[in-house]
């Protein structure tokens, strides 16, 4: 980040519905100009957290600050926020220009300034001619761009986006993401983005907070999240991954030693939650499909053991080969290109090699 000024700060926020905590003691600092994403499955509390920051909900405990000012009990209309919703939420009885002008009127901006600022905002989202139209005459993508212009035109301290692209056609979604990123970087606005779509989060965010059961499981940059997940939940939720049961033998010389599939493996100690693993306990070994490779059966390289090729899934840029072990478990091995289709036909006996420098171990829940 350019600066380390904090734009939004959440401290120990708790919010429950009917006794069940939806947000369970969350603390979070969003830096000025940062694009931060709350990522998690539905019901993880990400939308509740967004609504606490927006002011549509009040926390039972904890404090919320926007630009250093405590806003915990300040209603939404007195907070400096802009919001974009999944349903676009454009006012159907107003034209596009009136929609964009609404916030300026509410903030008592002089009438002479409103026209130029609306035009500028519509220009920014590349819809300069759409002012006189009604929302109904626009496509979903266009409506969401108008909603973005409407939220940004009042120059809020932070913009909150609640699953903004979920209702948009899949082909158009990528364009919308690029567009959002472009605008966000250009005006340098602090952005809080809520989504359940991990690829969307990975491609847009400066940092991602992965949420589960009302808590933040991990808060880090996209690459770190993918390459060094902090929990089995994060490892499973972000990207494709293989999970194999294993037994911890012990920790020695900066390495964790475990046994999986009758093979002894040594992993770098910092990969996974090694501190909580007791010798002899059951654990789960995580390895991404691209960190596995097919090698000759019985070879020394086959550190995950031998199996038989079950099926292939051809994905264009790569082939996912499913190998079934003797105990019935299958792992997914990713091979770039398409050669794997011919080299490893179904029924071939193969060995599986794992790049242990990129594998993780977490306790079995």
């Amino acid at each position: 980040m350019m600066t380390d000024t904090i734009s939004v700060s959440v401290e120990g926020a708790v919010k429950s519905f009917g006794g069940t905590p939806a947000v369970d003691g969350v603390s979070l600092k969003i830096r000025k100009g940062e694009f931060l994403t709350l990522l998690g499955p539905s019901g993880c509390g990400k939308t509740t957290l967004l609504n606490l920051i927006a002011g549509f909900l009040e926390p039972e405990r904890g404090e919320i600050f926007i630009d250093g000012e405590a806003v915990t009990h300040v209603p939404p209309y007195r907070r400096s926020i802009g919001m974009v919703f999944q349903s676009y939420a454009l006012f159907p009885h107003m034209t596009v220009a009136e929609n964009v002008a609404f916030g300026l009127k509410m903030h008592k901006v002089p009438a002479s300034e409103i026209g130029p600022r609306v035009a500028e905002a519509l220009e920014m989202v590349r819809l300069p001619q759409m002012g006189p139209r009604t929302p109904r005459q626009l496509s979903g993508g266009q409506q969401q761009r108008v909603a973005l212009a409407r939220a940004l035109v009042i120059k809020p301290s932070v913009i909150l986006l609640d699953e903004p692209f979920s209702a948009i056609d899949k082909n158009l979604r990528a364009d919308m993401q690029v567009e959002l990123k472009r605008i966000q970087k250009r005006i340098g606005i602090t952005t809080l983005f809520v989504t359940h779509d991990q690829s969307e989060a990975l491609s847009l965010s400066d940092r991602i907070a992965v949420m589960s059961h009302g808590k933040i499981e991990q808060l880090s940059g996209p690459a770190e999240l993918y390459r060094n997940p902090a929990s089995s939940f994060v490892a499973s939720f972000i990207g494709d991954i293989n999970r194999m049961p294993c037994t911890v033998i012990g920790i020695e010389a900066g390495e964790v030693v475990l046994k999986a599939n009758e093979h002894v493996l040594r992993l770098p100690k910092e990969h996974g939650a090694v501190d909580v693993l007791a010798a002899g306990s059951a654990a789960l070994l995580f390895a991404r499909p691209e960190e596995l490779a097919l090698v000759p059966a019985q070879g020394v390289e086959a550190n995950l053991g031998e199996g038989v090729v079950d099926t292939h899934v051809y994905q264009g840029t790569h082939v996912d080969v499913y190998v079934r072990f003797g105990d019935g478990r299958a792992v997914r091995v990713r091979h770039p290109g398409f050669e794997a289709l011919e080299r490893f036909p179904a029924g071939t006996a193969v060995g599986v090699h794992a790049n242990l420098a990129q594998a993780f171990v977490f306790p079995e829940k």
Binding site: A54, R79, S87, A89, F91
Partner: protein
């Protein structure tokens, strides 16, 4: 077989239409009779019953009384019902379900029960036979219809619209005025129209709470029928049918009839 079914279907539809509209047709035709008897079909043509209905003093007074009461009752019910529906639909509070049940109860309570209750209550506080008593009674009766109409319209408003407006700096009052009210307008108009028609036509409860000075048209008609049995009633009814049809055609043009009638179909 298929053709037979289609013919039967056509007959069923035709029969239903005739069954529903026949009373109105009979009344309208009888109104043009030249005899002082309610008979069908009439033996001659005359407009004298229309003239009598138009000039009969009690009907004129009843008409004026009815319009005054209807105007007050429908407008008060619209204001109260809109607020009640908005609060019940959008906010959580203790006693919410009870309040809703109480406000909607006139739908299932017999009108004469309400009429007697209002009469007893009014004489206790010496308000009997006043206009305000009749208006109060009608407000209670038509309130559920206004509330249902507003409910339906409110449910069609995306709550994100209100949140969007709030995020743009609009206070709750301005959100209501700038967002909810314009979007509710058709539902409000429908609810008001329905309330007005119901109030104007209400008879059972009205019979208990009106006096000679405050009697509405349906009560005046009832009094008339007890004394005479000539086609004046048919003529008056024909005029009312004509006015109602005009109203509904206009309402359908501007508001969509299915929206107004959905008040009845919901729940």
């Amino acid at each position: 077989m298929d053709r037979l079914l289609r013919v039967l279907y056509g007959v069923l539809i035709g029969a239903t239409l005739i069954y529903v509209t026949l009373p109105s047709l009979v009344v309208v035709v009888t109104a043009f009779s030249d005899k002082a008897l309610l008979m069908f079909p009439p033996t001659g043509f005359s407009l004298k019953w229309f003239e009598r209905a138009w000039t009969y003093d009690d009907f004129r007074k009843g008409m004026v009384n009815g319009l005054i009461i209807t105007a007050w009752a429908s407008c008060i019910a619209l204001a109260v019902g809109t607020m009640a529906a908005f609060v019940i639909e959008r906010f959580e509070f203790t006693g919410k379900r009870t309040l809703e049940a109480v406000l909607l109860s006139p739908l299932v309570i017999p009108h004469f029960t309400l009429g007697i209750a209002m009469l007893i209550l009014a004489s206790e506080i010496s308000l009997s036979r006043t206009f305000s008593l009749v208006v109060a009674c009608h407000v209670i009766l038509v309130l559920p219809f206004v509330m249902r109409s507003v409910y339906v319209s409110l449910k069609n408003i995306d709550p994100a619209l209100e949140r969007a407006a709030a995020s743009l700096g609009a206070s709750p009052f301005r959100v209501f005025m700038k967002i909810d009210l314009p979007l509710l307008a058709p539902g409000l108009a429908g609810g008001w129209l329905f309330a007005a028609i119901l109030s104007f036509n209400e008879f059972t409860a009205t019979l208990f709470v009106t006096g000679q000075r405050t009697q509405t048209l349906p009560v005046a008609m009832y009094t008339y029928v007890r004394e005479y049995a000539d086609p004046t009633m048919a003529a008056l009814s024909s005029m009312l049918i004509a006015v109602t049809v005009l109203f509904l055609v206009a309402a359908n043009r501007w508001l969509g009839l299915e929206r107004i009638l959905s008040i009845e179909a919901r729940h």
